[in-house]
């Protein structure tokens, strides 16, 4: 039973990982708490749903359409909205308001177009299962873990070994110094938003093939990503992924002790306590304590 909980928690964390990494990446590079991300997530899902169900396109094509539109949306938000706010020297709080309102705008727009009824990408979400060593593994589980693994490995390789990836890290560490070395911080901001758009689209594909999505769901999902980002330590992209897995496991195991309806309270309690007591992140805190002991 414990192994099953671990497996289910890990597979369920797959889309949370992508949302958390996407959120943490934008925060690291642009220093913006990007609450516009739910807007991109909603756009990605509904474009995919529309292309699959209304245009009867195969999923690779639907996914491509969703990817293009989401990337365009994230690029446009960065260029026209964030760019304008930067020119106006707006504070972080103004960015926060804009991003939150933008996501609401997108949610209302899709409510107008598709209604309030929740949808899944495919009409049928049944996924065949296979028993593996006493654990029930579904095809959806395997697909979710594979996609997430490939995307994370790709992102890691991109940030570590590609030139634009290294520029991204340079800008996130010190944008003014990076500018002196001829690196365009403007382009780095846009690139981080585009990468976030890609991760969100795949995250919504994984999510939308398992549970029904409605127009305001992304706004709730982003809070998990924020919690993981905070716990992982702000500015540490891959720690956010680890924190997402940890939170998912915590929620999974909590059902053994407390009723499932209290799971979210546990999440918010952890979230609140970590930011108050360890603003640099739970994982950074653990590392610091370990370092001190050594």
């Amino acid at each position: 039973m414990i192994l099953q909980i671990i497996w289910t928690s890990i597979t369920s964390s797959s889309y949370y990982i992508l949302f958390a990494v996407s959120f943490a990446l934008v925060l690291k590079v642009t220093k913006i708490w990007n609450f516009a991300q739910p807007g991109f997530m909603t756009t990605a899902f509904y474009m995919m749903y529309w292309a699959t169900n209304n245009l009867s396109l195969p999923i690779p094509l639907s996914l491509s359409i969703a990817l293009i539109i989401t990337i365009l949306a994230s690029w446009a938000v960065d260029k026209y909205a964030f760019g304008a706010l930067r020119r106006m020297k707006s504070g972080g709080f103004t960015f926060f308001i804009f991003t939150l309102i933008f996501s609401e705008f997108v949610a209302y727009l899709f409510t107008l177009l598709f209604g309030t009824e929740p949808f899944t990408v495919f009409p049928n979400i049944f996924s065949p299962v296979i028993p593996v060593g006493g654990i029930v593994v579904s095809y959806w589980d395997l697909r979710a873990v594979t996609i997430t693994g490939i995307l994370l490995a790709g992102l890691y390789a991109f940030l570590r070994w590609s030139k634009p990836g290294r520029f991204l890290i340079a800008v996130s560490n010190n944008d003014r110094l990076a500018e002196l070395y001829g690196i365009s911080s403007r382009q780095a901001y846009t690139l981080s938003m585009v990468l976030a758009g890609i991760l969100c689209t795949f995250g919504m594909y994984i999510l939308g093939t398992k549970i029904a999505v409605h127009t305001h769901l992304s706004l709730s999902l982003i809070l998990f990503a924020v919690a993981a980002t905070v716990m992982g330590g702000i500015g540490n992209v891959f720690s956010a992924a680890m924190a997402a897995v940890f939170l998912s496991l915590l929620q999974g195991f909590s059902v053994l002790i407390i009723p499932s309806r209290w799971q979210n309270l546990l999440l918010y309690f952890f979230f609140f306590m970590v930011i108050i007591t360890m603003p640099s992140g739970f994982l950074s805190f653990v590392r610091t304590m370990k370092g001190r002991r050594e």
């Binding site: 913006i32 709080f93 705008f105 918010y268 108050i276 603003p279």
Partner: protein, 306 residues
């Protein structure tokens, strides 16, 4: 006519909320967006006290406000450890955590909400009488906040917002100022919550979600922070304008999202066209000056609050 009265009552309640929120956010510089949860605490406390303990409604509303003020200490203590973006994010956790408790305990009615709340005013002229009460309370709140921020204590609040270290060096206790601002602002939010509960007679946790935070926040921003009349105008505009399309008699499936679109578009327009708000102090919100124009390379400006 009932619809107009309800809309005007909502405007009055939002004036209380926006003005009290501006005290915390604008004047105090404490970036928290958990204001709706104190509305919820005031509303639920007041409703439950009057329903189960037979306490007179007026006293229940006042006790609800006191309860919200006491609960604000949790967030005020958080503000002693973190500020700026961190406090903002912590306030989201605080709000959603308490909302989860409200959703999961039985005596609040859980997710399905609390009904059969007794009405403060009965009779044929109920809505008109309630409107008069709400307008009077809203006016009193606006004038109270104006009186506080224009006086000696207001200068201490400004000092705490602009330079906490300097204020402490002058012998003022910034910790007590923060706790007082939170208690007063959140207590007034609780008062608005009590008034809401005993007029609409039904409460559900969904009414106090993050979207509600965004609504109150935008009233302050659109109207203008740190001004007496800014939040009043913001509340008026943000509540009244989207309601105006109700007269087009569109089906509810179109009307509700269209109202949302109108409201969000309006906020985005103001954020770019008039970031300091309609009545706000100039350059309070942005630095649109000769020196700053055209510089696009930096990220968000990191002011004292992050």
């Amino acid at each position: 006519m009932e619809f107009i009265y309800s809309t005007l009552i909502m405007i009055g309640l939002y004036i209380i909320l926006a003005s009290s929120f501006d005290l915390i956010l604008g004047h105090g510089g404490l970036i928290s967006i958990a204001h709706p949860i104190f509305v919820a605490l005031g509303a639920y406390a007041s409703a439950l006290l009057s329903m189960h303990f037979g306490i007179p409604i007026v006293l229940s509303i006042l006790l609800g406000a006191v309860f919200a003020a006491i609960a604000s200490i949790g967030l005020a203590l958080a503000s002693l450890r973190v500020s700026g973006d961190y406090l903002l994010i912590a306030s989201i956790g605080f709000q959603l955590g308490i909302l989860q408790v409200i959703k999961n305990v039985d005596f609040t009615g859980g997710p399905s909400g609390l009904s059969d709340i007794p009405s403060l005013i009965e009779g044929t002229a109920r809505s008109l009488s309630y409107l008069i009460v709400v307008v009077a309370v809203a006016l009193a709140v606006v004038l109270l906040i104006r009186w506080i921020v224009k006086g000696d204590y207001g200068r201490a609040i400004t000092g705490m917002r602009d330079d906490e270290i300097a204020l402490t060096a002058l012998g003022r206790n910034s910790m007590s100022i923060k706790i007082t601002i939170f208690a007063l602002g959140c207590g007034l939010a609780g008062l608005a919550g009590g008034l809401y509960a005993h007029y609409f007679l039904y409460l559900t946790p969904e009414q106090f979600e993050i979207i509600e935070s965004a609504a109150i926040l935008t009233m302050v921003v659109v109207g203008g922070m740190k001004s007496t009349w800014g939040p009043v105008i913001g509340a008026l505009l943000i509540v009244a304008l989207p309601q105006s399309i109700k007269f087009l008699d569109l089906p509810p499936s179109i009307n509700a999202p269209l109202q949302g679109l109108l409201y969000t578009a309006l906020v985005m327009f103001f954020l770019f066209a008039r970031p300091q708000g309609l009545v706000g102090a100039k350059a309070a919100h942005s630095g649109r000056t000769k020196h700053t124009k055209g510089n696009e390379s930096a990220g968000p400006r990191r002011d004292k609050n992050g």
